[in-house]
Every structure is written in C-alpha cells, then in structure tokens.
C-alpha cells in the first residue's frame, strides 16, 4: 500500500537505471542520509559519536571494500587488515614527509598504496581459488605485520616505532570536535559507497559477478579473468586502504602494527558474511552487527543482571559477551543463511505487498 510502484512510469533510460528507481526508496534514503548528516551530530552524545558512530562509519567503509572482493568477485581474502595497515601507514608517511600536504589527497594516496599492495598480493588469485586463496592471502597479512615492525622507515625512524597523527585540518577547518570527524568520515563513506554501488551495477561489476559465479564459463564468454580479478583486488584494497587511513587518523590517533592484526582481517570477513555477500547494504548491516553489538552487549548485560540484583565481574561479562555474540551469529545464520541483507530485502518485498498477502 505504501511501497507500491504504481503510477511511477519512467520515460527515459536514465530514469529507469537509477540506483533507487522507486520514489519511496529515494525519499527514505535521502531522509536517512539527511538525518545522519544533520540530526545525528546535534543529538548524539560525545561518547556515542566518538566510540560508536565514528568506528562504525569507518569500519563499514572497510567492510564495503571487502564485500566487493569477497561478495561480488568471490575471492575470499583474509588480508584486509594488511590493506588497512598499508593505507594507514601510507597516508601517515605522506602527511609527515611532505610538508603542507592536504588531508584528503593524503588519505587517497594511502588508498593508492594499499591498491598497489593489494594487486600484488592478489596475483595468486589467478591460479588459486576458494579457501586455499583465503589462507594464501594471510601471507599478505603476516607480511605486512612484519614489514611495519621491522622497517623503521615506515614510522619515520621515530623513537617509539609507532605512528601518531594530530592537528588534522581540511580546507583550513580544524577537525577537532567529534562531530566534525564524524561528518568527515561520513562524507568519505557516502561518496565511496555511491561510487561502489555504481561500479557494481556497471559492466565491471557484472564481470566480477560472472567470475564469482563460474569463472571458467566467464572466461569462455570473453571476460578476462586476470583483468576482472585484479581490478576487484585493486578497487577493494583502495577502499580498504582509505578506511584504514581513516581508522588510524580519526579513531585511534596513534597506532602500532598490532592495531591492524589478523583479528581485524577476520572481523571484516565476518562482517561481510553475516551482513550478506554481494550486497552494499549488507556491509553496513554486518559492520553494525560486529562493531556496535559487543558495545551494546557490554552495556545491556550488566543492566539485565542488575535487574536480577546480580553483580557480574568484568571478566564474566566479557565471557558472556563472547558467548552471546557467538550464539547470535549462529542463530542469525540459521534464520537467514544469506545474511542480514537478505532479511532486509525480504522485508522490503513484504512491504511491497502489505497489507495484502500476495
């Protein structure tokens, strides 16, 4: 009733090929984005911005990158932490070594270095497939771990072998407050998400999906596997690199290589699988699940225990969080094996018909 597309006739190809052809979709998405840009900085507390929203925005950007590689192109990669690290250290080096370097080009250059790194370590995908490729990409992860610890050049030979940034500003406006940092990261997310959505709707996206579904058949009909796979690695690691630079600059402030360890790689893969492979929306759901849920649990569980008058120790709380988290993952997968994005699209389908059964 509310979500019907009756009466919405398209008279140009351009109108028909929009990302959101249905008017209701466009309205809701624009309202949501406006809410995120205007209302959230005004209403959210500092803690919410700094500890929940900023990491969520940055990590969903990284999850987007991983989804392009794993979900759209079918190349399972566990090297995402390394790509984030290369992006972060790359951007750090650019900003620290080139005086007067503006922030946005520095972040993009970090992404560019991550792209080169990703393409190099994506070369095995031309020969190796599936789980074997996943484990092989761990080589990238551990190599990056070692590289940033051992080669002092990356940390500018500084005293503590860790990187730190401060006094960030864009177009002369200092990014000091949490709201400004949040808006800056959100801007990156919106622009890159839009670009990614258009990429996957275009010819290159269809090539990726063909490779994912059946790469031999794709090669038979003329899609060059090398070009498709390496471009997937390139785009994906560029996005992940930019996300890594944002993570280091805007969330951590100061970091050592352990901040981009293999746990981060696994987390990103989990987000993508649980959010929904091959879906841009899925990256956001997955990121919300994995970033926000543990924090929500750590607030909710003591509250629930308090209702029963029980005082839990922090370690018991941590263990309970892990158990609830694991149980929730399994439960969501049983209910919807294709991830949260599928649940979302089923919901929209039902809404189209509502209140009629069919």
């Amino acid at each position: 009733m509310l979500y019907r597309e009756n009466g919405q006739f398209k008279t140009t190809y351009r109108a028909d090929q929009q990302i959101f052809p249905i008017l209701q979709d466009r309205v809701v998405v624009l309202l949501f984005v406006a809410f995120a840009i205007v209302a959230v900085p005004m209403l959210a507390s500092d803690y919410l911005l700094r500890a929940i929203l900023i990491p969520f925005v940055i990590i969903s950007l990284a999850a987007l990158g991983v989804n392009i590689l794993v979900g759209y192109c079918g190349q399972i990669s566990l090297g995402s932490g390394a790509f984030m690290a290369v992006g972060a250290y790359g951007a750090y080096n650019v900003i620290a070594r080139i005086p007067g370097m503006p922030l946005i080009p520095a972040l993009l250059l970090g992404g560019f270095f991550a792209m080169l790194f990703g393409m190099f370590f994506g070369l095995p995908s031309l020969r190796v497939k599936g789980l074997y490729l996943a484990v092989a990409t761990l080589a990238a992860q551990f190599f990056a771990d070692w590289m940033f610890l051992r080669i002092k050049w990356f940390t500018l030979d500084n005293s503590s072998d860790s990187a730190a940034v401060s006094n960030l500003q864009v177009f002369g406006y200092a990014l000091e407050s949490d709201a400004s940092k949040y808006l800056f990261c959100l801007a990156f997310l919106i622009v890159i998400a839009l670009a990614a959505k258009n990429l996957v709707r275009g010819a290159i996206g269809r090539e990726w999906m063909a490779i994912r579904d059946m790469d031999v058949a794709a090669a038979v009909i003329g899609i060059r596997p090398m070009y498709a796979k390496l471009s997937a690695f390139a785009v994906s690691s560029f996005i992940i690199g930019v996300a890594g630079a944002l993570w280091g600059f805007f969330y951590l402030g100061a970091w050592e290589p352990a901040a981009f360890s293999v746990d981060q790689s696994f987390r990103l893969l989990f987000m993508v699988i649980i959010g929904g492979l091959g879906s841009i929306m899925g990256s956001f759901f997955g990121a919300a699940f994995i970033v926000v849920l543990p924090i929500a649990l750590s607030q909710a569980l003591p509250a629930i225990a308090g209702l029963f008058g029980v005082q839990i120790s922090t370690s018991a709380l941590s263990h309970a969080e892990l158990m609830v988290f694991g149980a929730l993952i399994v439960w969501f997968l049983i209910v919807e094996p294709h991830g949260l994005a599928r649940l979302w699209s089923i919901g929209k389908e039902k809404l189209r018909r509502w209140p009629f059964p069919h």
Binding site: A139, R150, I273, M323, G326
Partner: protein, 309 residues
C-alpha cells in the same frame, strides 16, 4: 653442519606438532565440507578441560596416583568433547544442511566465539599446567661425529611419534572402514549421500567427535609444551599453511605439509632471518605454502578441483 642438522630436526618435529592441529581441520573438511574455524578454540577448550580436571580429580576424589588422575582427566575431557560435538551437530549443523561454504564457515566462527567464552568461564583464564610426564631436557646424539652433538628435544620427539601414530590410525579409518567411506561420501555431496541412505547427523557427530579427540591430543601435547592458556588457540593460525599445503582433504598431506612447513619455517628464520632482522617465520610459512599452491592449486595431496561449466 651439526647446527644445520639440529635446525632440520627441530623443524621436522615442529612440523609434526603443527600437523597434529592441522589434522583436525582436514578431518572435518574431508568429511563434511566445512572449514572448521573453531578448531583452535576446540584445542584450547579440550586442553583446558584436561588441565583443570587433572587438578580437580585429586581434590575431589582424593586419588593420589598421578597417572590414574591424568588418564581420568583425559577420558573426561574426551567425553566433554563428544558432548560438544553432539551439541554442535544438533544445534548448528543440522539446521545448515546444504548451505554454502561461506555460511558454514561463519557458523563455525560463531562456535569459536562461543567456545572461547564458555571455556574461559568454566575453566578460568589463568595459565594451567598439563603434566603428562614428558621429559623436558634435551638429548644429544652423534656426539662422536660432531663436537657438542646434535640437539634433539625429547618432548618434541615423543610428540612427533604420537602424531604419526594418530595419523596412521586415521588413514586406516578413512580407507578401510565403512564409516570412513561414508564420511568421504558425505564430504563429496551432502544431498547425494542423504539420498543413498547415509544418516548425515550420525556421520557428522562421528566426525566432530573424532576431530574433538584429535583436538584433545593436540591440546594435550601443545599444552604440555606451552602451558594451557588463551594463546594456545593461536596455534591454529600456525597450522593453516600446513592445511593448504597438504591439501584440505588429505590426511597424509597434513603430515607431509607439516614437515615441509616446519623445516621451511625454522631454516628460514635461522638462515635468512638475520639478514632481514628476524621474525620472518610466520609469513615465510605462508609464502612457502603459497609458492607450492601456485604449482599445485589444490595443495600437494588435495583433490583436484573440478569445475563443471
């Protein structure tokens, strides 16, 4: 030369220890097509169970005999792993029959988190001891040929023997018994196996039980070497290159892969490491496995991947 032999032998034995952990991965993948991400957590859980029960049994029952206490702890830990296997099949796998590999992988990840939380809450987060009487001091062989002799770690030697026996038993199981054949059929295709009458749930429980016992043995040996605490689950990351080098579906591949990775790691760290500042073991193992994969993309002994177009 003596030092080279020492490094070589050390690498071979370290590799056997890795293959113990890799076996668990291979078993479950071979029999159910699921990459069990939770293997590391299972090793830790089993080791914790055995370590704590070997403390608790003397306390609760007053049995003074250490060997008896340890055997009882082993048995109890194995029973716990059977229960875990049964619960996993009942609560998780049964509902995810015939889903994609990625979904099943994610489910095992959920199991990992759950078991880490459960293990630490039931058994504690401190460092616990498993003492199965493994000798800790080294032996020196060939002292006549080489000055100072060649060092062999006795504990690692016993562990390598245990691993080899376990592998031989498992190979026999898969090749010669009806259950083994059924397991391989299930690995090929769940639906087809169901349609010819193989009870999937029973097979999966069996496979996870066996993997649980393998995890227990691996946990016992690694725990005796390192002490039982959280980092034990990171041993699984060291065993992953072994799994892919040997092939995800091959039990002998786990051993051969383990030997190659072990030797490669140690030789690279000792001979190449000093030129680049050291610490290259871990990524070298992965790069070595990657190198082999470029020549044989399914691992040395894995089943050839057949794509039907």
């Amino acid at each position: 030369m003596a030092f080279f032999l020492e490094t070589l032998l050390g690498g071979l034995m370290a590799g056997m220890l890795y293959s113990l952990v890799a076996l668990g991965f291979v078993l479950i993948f071979k029999a159910s097509g699921v990459f069990n991400f939770a293997q590391g957590a299972m090793v830790l859980f089993a080791a914790l169970a055995m370590a704590r029960f070997s403390e608790w049994i003397p306390q609760w029952t007053g049995i003074e005999n250490k060997v008896l206490g340890d055997v009882a702890a082993f048995v109890i830990a194995a029973l716990i792993m059977f229960a875990v296997a049964w619960l996993i099949e009942r609560l998780v796998l049964r509902h995810l029959v015939n889903q994609e590999g990625a979904t099943l992988l994610m489910a095992t990840i959920g199991i990992t988190y759950f078991m880490e939380g459960l293990g630490q809450s039931l058994f504690g987060s401190s460092i616990y001891k498993i003492d199965i009487g493994m000798p800790k001091d080294p032996i020196f062989v060939l002292e006549s040929t080489f000055q100072g002799g060649v060092l062999i770690n006795k504990e690692d030697l016993y562990a390598a023997l245990i691993a080899a026996t376990l592998v031989a038993l498992l190979s026999l199981f898969f090749q010669k018994t009806a259950t083994g054949r059924a397991l391989r059929a299930v690995a090929d295709d769940h639906q087809a196996a169901q349609s010819i009458g193989i009870a999937l749930s029973r097979i999966w429980v069996i496979v996870w039980c066996v993997a649980g016992v393998v995890a227990l043995v691996a946990g016992m040996i690694w725990g005796s070497k390192l002490g039982v605490q959280f980092s034990l689950s990171t041993v699984a990351l060291r065993a992953l290159p072994v799994v892919i080098l040997g092939g995800l579906t091959s039990v002998p591949g786990a051993i051969i892969g383990g030997l190659i990775i072990g030797v490669g790691e140690k030789l690279s760290e000792v001979y190449l490491g000093p030129y680049v500042g050291g610490g290259i073991e871990i990524w070298f193992a992965y790069v070595l496995a990657l190198g082999f994969l470029l020549i044989r993309p399914q691992g040395l002994f894995g089943e050839k991947i057949i794509d039907r177009v």
